[in-house]
């Protein structure tokens, strides 16, 4: 039996009385790039947040490489939505990337010059090496997203969970991010993205989860991302032909 990087069983998440996610189960592939797609309010972010323990689970179980997440924090890297932080915060791009090293540095120890040098290396990987001393609010939206990605890279995780990383980013950023994702796949990692843009699913990802409060379909993009499954997910027949995507 294979150990999945991420295994979700019968997960239910409720806000108030309403189920945002209902009896959802998914065994993620061992490696690769997986997209979670579905309409607004389908529970995509709720799924991610419940996996990470940011919102309480009404029912169900989540395992990371066969164990509860509390024992596997070092194996995951989470990239929240860009809108979730205050970009006026007194921190430079280098400072933010160094945050990815905090767990390894450990309690009560300061961030040293060597850590900043390491952070610089990860910024280079997303082609922002020259921006290390720039205040984060002075960066463009795409650059901010790449800083978040660099911070995740610094964690040297095996499982990457990203919330809408492609939302509102420029073409350069999109190119850099897909390049980094492919390198991660080649290195044996699993990258899971909440994704909103149906037209780019086939181009970027190799696995897809179609979600609308409950699991609609999951599997390789080629066989799963079909017009039938998409219209079942979105509730309307879409005038979109993924075959040409």
């Amino acid at each position: 039996m294979t150990i999945h990087p991420l295994s979700v069983k019968n997960l239910t998440v409720r806000y108030g009385g309403r189920a945002a996610l209902d009896n959802f189960s998914w065994d993620a592939p061992e490696r690769g790039l997986a997209a979670i797609v579905g309409p607004n309010g389908a529970g995509k972010s709720s799924l991610l947040k419940a996996v990470l323990g940011l919102v309480p689970k009404a029912a169900g179980r989540v395992e990371i490489f066969g164990k509860p997440i509390s024992e596997q924090r070092d194996l995951i890297a989470y990239v929240p939505q860009r809108a979730s932080v205050d970009w006026d915060f007194p921190a430079t791009a280098g400072d933010v990337v160094a945050m990815g090293l905090y767990r390894r540095i450990g309690w009560l120890r300061p961030v040293r010059a060597a850590d900043h040098a390491a952070a610089r290396k990860y910024l280079d990987m997303v082609r922002l090496g020259d921006f290390a001393d720039r205040q984060i609010g002075a960066l463009s939206g795409g650059q901010q997203q790449r800083v978040f990605l660099a911070r995740a890279l610094a964690q040297q995780a095996k499982l990457f969970l990203l919330d809408e990383p492609f939302a509102g980013v420029d073409a350069v950023t999109e190119g850099v991010m897909t390049g980094v994702f492919r390198e991660l796949r080649n290195a044996g990692s699993l990258v899971v993205c909440v994704h909103h843009d149906l037209s780019s699913v086939q181009e970027i990802f190799d696995h897809v989860v179609l979600l609308h409060r409950e699991m609609i379909a999951s599997g390789p993009v080629g066989t799963t991302f079909t017009p039938e499954n998409i219209s079942r997910t979105y509730g309307v027949p879409l005038a979109l032909n993924p075959g040409n995507g």
Binding site: L52, L54, I76, P80, V85, P90, T92, R103
Partner: protein, 306 residues
């Protein structure tokens, strides 16, 4: 040598030994509030701190009543400050309860807790004024602060607390920065966000309580808000900003204590707050990281380049 202006004499530590100790104690307090204030501000707890500060009043009054009832002096600092800490904690819990459990929003929770606790303190103070015990006049100084009559031991005690607070912030520095910037990220990676939030609140509580004697409970929140706001203009790094904020807080408190040393009927808290506010105005204009001047120069260079 020409006669120095009295203020200059005091500032240059040429006053009496007791005054010097009090001024240095005030400076330590200002540094501690400036350092803790950075995280109170970044974590959006500044106005909670205001409510907590006002909520110390009933505690001070209850401490006084209890001390008198047990035969101690009403000015016994341990009674007053334990009482202050107790009602402050109660206020913090009340705010959290109202904001989390009822339909009322956090701003309403803060304002109503602040007003109700402070009002209860006032009722107790009016009761105390009619008690025939004496010493109640001493309670006034906890409202707007005073350095007059401050003992050397008191100043040393609060300086020690202030140093301890700064040390704790230094040890937890990167974790506090992390939860202030991105709490969800921190939680997802196993950092105890709730515990760290509690630590910020506890540190706020400590500086508020030790600040009562010099700055007073009405205005102590300014020392948690104004120095960090000013420091933000001098650096884009949380670390450097924290050092600058501590320095601004220390200077404001030192200067304010010096002024009140030469004119004893000046409310110390008010002077300290105004010094800090002038430093904020100066920082807005001259700050090297995001002051108006460097931003104007930056914009002009950008236009020239274009």
């Amino acid at each position: 040598m020409a006669e120095l202006h009295p203020l200059l004499q005091v500032l240059l530590l040429q006053a009496g030994y007791n005054t010097i100790v009090v001024m240095l104690g005030a400076a330590a307090l200002g540094a501690a509030t400036g350092v803790v204030g950075v995280f109170a501000m970044l974590r959006r707890r500044a106005l909670v701190a205001d409510a907590v500060a006002h909520a110390t009043l009933p505690g001070v009054a209850l401490g006084f009543i209890l001390a008198v009832a047990l035969g101690f002096s009403g000015r016994n600092l341990s009674f007053l400050l334990s009482g202050a800490a107790l009602t402050a904690v109660l206020a913090a819990l009340s705010i959290q309860w109202i904001a989390n459990r009822t339909r009322l929003t956090e701003d309403t929770a803060i304002a109503s807790v602040l007003a109700t606790f402070f009002a209860f303190g006032i009722v107790l103070l009016t009761v105390i004024q009619t008690l025939k015990t004496g010493g109640q006049a001493g309670l006034d100084i906890y409202l707007l602060g005073a350095t007059a009559g401050m003992l050397r031991e008191e100043a040393i005690t609060l300086a020690l607390f202030a140093i301890a607070v700064a040390l704790i912030v230094a040890l937890l520095f990167k974790e506090l920065t992390l939860i202030s910037f991105d709490a969800d990220y921190a939680r997802a990676h196993g950092f105890p966000v709730r515990l760290l939030d509690l630590a910020i609140l506890a540190l706020v509580l400590v500086v508020v309580v030790i600040g009562l004697r010099i700055v007073g409970l009405v205005l102590i929140v300014a020392l948690l808000i104004t120095p960090p706001a000013a420091a933000r203009f001098w650096s884009d790094h949380t670390g450097r900003m924290t050092v600058v904020s501590g320095a601004i807080g220390a200077f404001s408190a030192y200067f304010g204590a010096a002024i009140s040393a030469i004119s004893p009927d000046t409310p110390t808290g008010a002077v300290i707050v105004l010094v800090a506010f002038f430093l904020l105005l100066a920082s807005i204009v001259f700050g090297t990281a995001r002051g108006l001047l460097v931003r104007a120069i930056g914009a002009r260079n950008l236009r020239r380049a274009a």
